[in-house]
């Protein structure tokens, strides 16, 4: 038996030694990365990166924005305080050196820059652009919908004039086209790279494009490597037509847990952390090592109520709920003040926005009264559906639940896995739901109200009002600005009265980075960072 005792003693010794090895050297803060590298903590990996058929999560969209370029782009303007921002309503040439509209506003002609090259060195010409749009229309992907909205219904409306010139013909003059074009969906592709992947089974080379970009990039960065689920790395594209990016290499590290991203930022292991919990922002703002960039975005967060499903088909019920939601708590305690209250379905920052019709603040008596009027004095029970994994959604839901309990509405919170949530929302099957992912990248009010309140696509609340439909169709797409604004006023008046949504908030877009990272430019059109502007001190 001695042997066992000796043995266990020996094991103990070894264990102690090993522990000393690991712990003895107390964990110290990470060394900083060098000035040519940027390490960014993101919440999730890239998904489908085919620019015309992407599912478009933020990371994927931002990735595409940094590796591809478009014919036109947002203008970067300097504000009064010296900061620079991307103006969502002002467009300049991108790959096109210049562009010219015809008088009637139905044709725009682009003149390409000289010496454009793809990242692999292939020349980029108007033929490449024609190739890109032909593929885009053949594929019938996401971008086509946007082009069609701007009255460019098929590939015959894209005219290759010569290798430096290309024209787009519109069926009807409108102001939507550029807003729809300054997006990754219009990324110009390299026929030499993409062409060989086009097969009979897959005429649009989706199989290749959905997971690769190498050789067909022309943006400031190009894809270096991917370690799926873990990281993806961008490296400066030396063939970029514009000013070369400052930072040579960007490592996107996937860290799903927001508090881990925070911890890594604070320890200096990463330079930028995306999607941080708002509750931790005050501490970051107080931290001299960290710079927090805060910009009000046009992202809208609201509670949808399916206007076709009882009891939400009753305006009074919708109003009652709108009176019951604790707006202040949500802005102050869920968003911890990093949001402004949304006071119109058209967010602040979009032309035509007004908060003049907004009446809702929490008033449980009034809410109860409305519920009584609606014939539901005893309230009802319902399920509140939110996407899984969103802290904001979770917290909002709990506060809403508690508030509605106060007027007799029994709410059960259902967290849906991402895909289930999206499937149901696409099919307009959600009845009472939270959503916070929508931003109208094209900052045209028509684009916004058409998608959200006309009967098609993204009118997830199934709101249907002929007057509103008519107003949208007849006035908002016109070039008559006065008529447009008047129509928008009327629309907002109606919507606030009919309350298809509970308007929650417009969050601030918050990006926290190490203080030595400079040069950040906010693009309110899409909230996406263009990394070419960043540099380290």
């Amino acid at each position: 038996m001695h042997n066992i005792m000796l043995l266990s003693r020996r094991i103990f010794l070894i264990a102690t030694l090993a522990a000393g090895l690991v712990f003895g050297n107390t964990f110290a803060a990470h060394a900083q990365s060098d000035e040519n590298t940027l390490i960014i903590a993101v919440s999730r990996d890239l998904q489908n990166i085919d620019p015309t058929l992407t599912s478009g999560n933020i990371n994927t969209w931002e990735f595409l924005t940094n590796v591809y370029s478009w014919l036109i782009d947002y203008e970067v303007v300097t504000m009064d305080d010296g900061t620079m921002v991307g103006d969502p309503n002002s467009f300049v040439g991108g790959l096109a050196e210049s562009f010219e509209w015809t008088e009637d506003g139905t044709t725009v002609t682009f003149t390409m820059r000289d010496g454009l090259k793809f990242s692999n060195g292939d020349p980029l010409t108007a033929e490449s652009v024609k190739f890109t749009f032909d593929r885009l229309f053949d594929q019938q992907g996401v971008t086509v919908g946007n082009m069609a909205l701007a009255e460019v219904p098929d590939k015959h409306h894209i005219e290759l004039i010569d290798s430096k010139t290309i024209a787009i013909h519109l069926d009807r003059a409108n102001s939507l086209l550029f807003g729809n074009m300054a997006q990754a969906g219009n990324s110009i592709l390299n026929p030499n790279v993409v062409g060989p992947h086009m097969t009979d089974d897959d005429p649009s080379a989706h199989e290749w494009l959905k997971s690769d970009t190498r050789g067909t990039e022309q943006g400031p960065y190009r894809l270096e490597s991917r370690d799926p689920g873990n990281q993806y790395v961008l490296v400066r594209n030396e063939n970029y037509f514009g000013e070369p990016a400052h930072i040579e290499r960007i490592v996107f590290q996937v860290i799903p847990d927001p508090s881990s991203r925070l911890a890594q930022l604070v320890s200096g292991a990463v330079d930028i952390a995306m999607e941080l919990p708002t509750v931790d922002i005050p501490a970051l703002e107080a931290n001299p090592d960290i710079t927090v960039h805060r910009n009000t975005s046009r992202t809208i967060s609201y509670i949808g109520m399916n206007n076709e499903v009882a009891p939400f088909d009753n305006k009074l019920v919708r109003q009652a709920i709108s009176y019951a939601v604790p707006y202040d708590t949500i802005v102050n305690d869920v968003m911890n003040g990093y949001a402004i209250q949304l006071k119109s379905p058209i967010p602040k920052g979009t032309p035509g926005h007004t908060d003049e019709f907004f009446v809702y603040s929490q008033n449980l008596e009034k809410a109860k009264e409305l519920l009584d009027q609606a014939g539901l004095p005893d309230g009802f029970s319902t399920v509140f559906e939110i996407p899984i994994g969103s802290q904001e959604a979770k917290e909002t839901a709990v506060f809403v639940q508690e508030a509605l309990r106060g007027i007799g509405i029994d709410v059960q919170i259902q967290e849906l896995p991402g895909a289930a949530y999206f499937e149901k929302i696409q099919k307009h099957e959600l009845v009472f739901f939270y959503t916070n992912f929508w931003i109208s990248i094209n900052n045209e009010p028509y684009y916004h109200v058409y998608w959200k309140f006309h009967h098609s696509c993204c009118n997830y609340a199934n709101y249907a009002n002929q007057t509103v439909d008519d107003l949208i169709k007849e006035h908002t797409i016109s070039t008559d600005m006065a008529a447009r604004d008047a129509a928008l006023q009327e629309i907002q008046r109606i919507l606030l009265d009919e309350a298809p949504w509970v308007l929650l908030y417009q969050p601030e877009h918050i990006l926290a980075m190490r203080s030595n990272v400079k040069g950040y430019v906010f693009f309110s059109a899409d909230n996406l960072t263009r990394y070419q502007h960043l540099y380290k001190e």
Binding site: S259, S260, L262, G389, A397, Q401, E402, I413, E415
Partner: protein, 287 residues
């Protein structure tokens, strides 16, 4: 040598004496009974409404006002942990009951009839058991969507093979037992043998197993809730509560997750102590 302990579930007095001799197991009973009472009396004991939100006091560390501190909504963790007893016990017992009934029915049918029925049923069980349990439960919970009944079903389903195999093997043993043969010999029908002779003899190990399973079911339920596949927010279920507090751990707000987790650990420990103790009765070699 002293002969093996009698394989019987003791009567109450025997149990009491046995508990005196096995203070550890008695401790297990004490924990579960105590928690059960606390759960029943939760409305009387809990200082706050478990659903009451108080954003002005969110994420307060433990104090006399809030024994276990407050959570991200300013909810009182202590009250919620108390109410959690009801939910988690319910899930544990529910999952065990479902799994037990389904599994032992399969096992008894397979074990008693044998032959092709046995073969088919047990191959099915093999297939279910070939999945790593928690992952299968995740998949089922994912399919069914989060709710307490679905959670119970998911966990119960995964454990069906456990009960099926246990009751089948137990049944195979006692089916071959001499007393079953003797019962046939005096003219008892299959049904009578099954119900009057075999069932009482197969219950003990299955009962012991259920006690242990109860603890595991609570653990699995908490795990599923933790990753969002379990019960609804803001139900005071312990796994959900740990999940709510998890992001705050790195920021040092430990109490939000700590106390619900402690409650799970104590509960599961209680069930395991009882299960182990009962197992001792059946097989003195084990802990």
């Amino acid at each position: 040598m002293i002969g093996p302990q009698e394989q019987i579930v003791p009567g109450l007095t025997a149990l009491a004496r046995w508990c005196r001799r096995n203070p550890v197991t008695a401790f297990g009973f004490f924990i579960i009974l105590g928690l059960g009472v606390l759960g029943l009396l939760a409305p009387l004991i809990a200082p706050y409404d478990p659903y009451a939100l108080n954003p002005r006091e969110k994420m307060q560390p433990p104090s006399w006002d809030h024994l276990f501190g407050t959570g991200i909504f300013g909810e009182d963790i202590f009250s919620r942990v108390l109410y959690g007893i009801r939910i988690d016990f319910g899930i544990g017992l529910g999952a065990v009951a479902f799994g037990l009934i389904a599994g032992s029915s399969v096992g008894v049918i397979a074990g008693y009839y044998g032959g092709r029925i046995d073969e088919v049923l047990m191959r099915l069980m093999d297939i279910v058991a070939a999945f790593p349990g928690f992952i299968l439960a995740m998949a089922i919970a994912g399919v069914l969507g989060p709710s307490i009944p679905n959670l119970i079903i998911a966990i119960a389903f995964v454990n069906v093979p456990v009960y099926a195999r246990l009751s089948r093997s137990r049944f195979l043993v006692i089916r071959e037992s001499l007393y079953a043969l003797a019962a046939r010999g005096v003219g008892a029908s299959d049904f009578r043998i099954l119900t009057w002779h075999l069932l009482p003899n197969s219950l003990a190990p299955i009962f012991v197993q259920s006690t242990l399973q109860c603890g595991w079911a609570i653990l699995d339920a908490a795990g599923l809730s933790f990753i969002g596949l379990g019960v609804h927010l803001p139900t005071p279920e312990w796994g959900v509560m740990i999940g709510l507090g998890a992001p705050r751990i790195i920021a040092g707000q430990w109490w939000i997750s700590f106390f619900p987790g402690l409650a799970i650990a104590i509960t599961v420990m209680g069930f395991n102590l009882i299960g182990d103790g009962l197992q001792d009765l059946l097989d003195p070699r084990r802990w």
